[in-house]
Symmetry: D2
Subunit: 195 residues, 4 copies
Amino acid sequence: MSVRTPDPDPDWTPGPEGAPPPGTNQGWLSDVELAEVRRRLPILYIEAVPVRVDGLGQVVEVGVLLRARSTGEMTRMLVSGRVLYGETLRDALFRHLEKDLGPMAFPQLPPSPVPFMVAEYFPMPGITAFTDDRQHAVSMAYVVPVTGTCDPRQDALELTWMTPREAASDAVAAEMEGGRGALLRMALASVGQLR
Amino acid sequence: MSVRTPDPDPDWTPGPEGAPPPGTNQGWLSDVELAEVRRRLPILYIEAVPVRVDGLGQVVEVGVLLRARSTGEMTRMLVSGRVLYGETLRDALFRHLEKDLGPMAFPQLPPSPVPFMVAEYFPMPGITAFTDDRQHAVSMAYVVPVTGTCDPRQDALELTWMTPREAASDAVAAEMEGGRGALLRMALASVGQLR
Amino acid sequence: MSVRTPDPDPDWTPGPEGAPPPGTNQGWLSDVELAEVRRRLPILYIEAVPVRVDGLGQVVEVGVLLRARSTGEMTRMLVSGRVLYGETLRDALFRHLEKDLGPMAFPQLPPSPVPFMVAEYFPMPGITAFTDDRQHAVSMAYVVPVTGTCDPRQDALELTWMTPREAASDAVAAEMEGGRGALLRMALASVGQLR
Amino acid sequence: MSVRTPDPDPDWTPGPEGAPPPGTNQGWLSDVELAEVRRRLPILYIEAVPVRVDGLGQVVEVGVLLRARSTGEMTRMLVSGRVLYGETLRDALFRHLEKDLGPMAFPQLPPSPVPFMVAEYFPMPGITAFTDDRQHAVSMAYVVPVTGTCDPRQDALELTWMTPREAASDAVAAEMEGGRGALLRMALASVGQLR
């Protein structure tokens, strides 16, 4: 994989044909280049909170990813990844949902491209609620109903379904990195499910 | 029908059992009462713009209802109706979608209860973009993807699917009552599909 | 006051001239009529969360009203009130902000009429996060920056300014009625100030 | 200017002290570097539609910039510019508003960081409504009330105030580049002022 995807970003999984997404070649960055550019420009991300809805569209469950870090520590995550050169936000959203939830999740992407929140991540804490020690990232965050079966494809990932109340708890927030517990609460608030 | 549904509002269709929706009995109004209350209070409505989306959630078609008025004139409409006492906005939205599009439309109600626009209808023109000579109505308007087959159930109704460009045209706006052409354009704008 | 305001709703304060707002006469309801209509129709409300913003528009403080109930108990409230017949949402929002914060608060009403949340209050708990034992109320809720001096005009009202963190605390939520603690958190989430 | 601002992007004007904004040094790009990065990554922008509001917050006028191009052709523009490394969206929004409207415009930045629209600009037409032959840009667009005096500071810029109806006209859209006429209409729709 290192030959074909010099971009060390864990955001991308090759398609069946092993090729980068069409039209994105120009934007391919080597590890060194990406590390360099991350100190020079804000990097655009999407994030998604997968949810289950009832027959009236109301959110009844929230999906949170669990990942084992190389240190052995477990952290909770949202679906997340970089927007590549030449890629629309919808393409990026779909690609990362498929990467993190598998091909049978059947996500229903929202008709509007307006996110419920724009999360600004800075290397230095205190500027916003969100931090990322690798970079200055600006992330468009969406709530996305999924109707199929979620089967996290990457190593050491598991998807846990929670009630809105659990998802908004301090316990869950404490297990999320970079302030994403706050983002998850904002997601719940945006759909009227924060108590 | 007059015995069972004294409410002359065309918003409601009896279910198979011919009974009012559960929990709404108290709110049942006779014709005279409704006419009276319409001169005293703003009346709460929902409106829905049915859409078809592609695999990435992008709106590709917009559904507009066509109705023959008693004068023989044809007018275009959105899905629309009153919110009853004891009824949630979601319940009202689902009920009116089913009433106007039939039971096989399979609407995907939005996870968020926040409308793309709040349309304020007044009997006198000039206050807002919207008028309704019967009443002061305040309408929560939503864009709703439908995935099934639409089969308008009420007499003289037909659903026409249009491209976003057609739906935003002056020709369509001219056929809509009460300023709803503007509301339709705002719906398209909210999903990034207004040119 | 009973002579001038037959409407027992605490939402309205007579202007200097003691007259109802222009154009709303038709909608005037006696105590009995209002009590009656409250059991028949959802009643439209506005709610506002007054905030102080810094030079970049960021929310730094949140205003919460404190009221002594006739029982001696203190409860916290948001700016809130009914929308009258013939009154726009903006007019209602401005009128209730002036009523609760005084004439020198100089609120900056939002350019968009779309609320950050639509709160649905029902007499029976469990349907939504919000309850109101008097009625089924549907409330359009807004965050409103105020730039002047707030001087609550009604008896037994005081405005307390809090940090976003305090305003989102369980202690404050416990002092708010009808689930408005959740609404306050949603307000903070909508402006990116919920942790 | 070439010495102080190696970034050829017209987005930035040196402050009184001629120094780059604090904390953004790392992100400084030479002309060559910026040209390079623009072919590799989506570039983050903000855009703003300046408006005048009445006492109730309703948009009554819309400001559109007029610029003479080097070809002598006149084009209409929105306030627009790049988000620099280390800079918040609010900082970028304020900086570009000041750059394009002068220091006495007194913009009221919105309490919420959520834009009314995310506009995606691609070099190749047909992907979205928006094009930019220099780059793949993703722009967070905001409606911003201004209360002071606007005095465009850059050469050949003038600000024209229009009614919402004029601003939404085909004539104005035809004078805007990259599809920004559509963005302007979406701005008007978001504040309920599109007919």
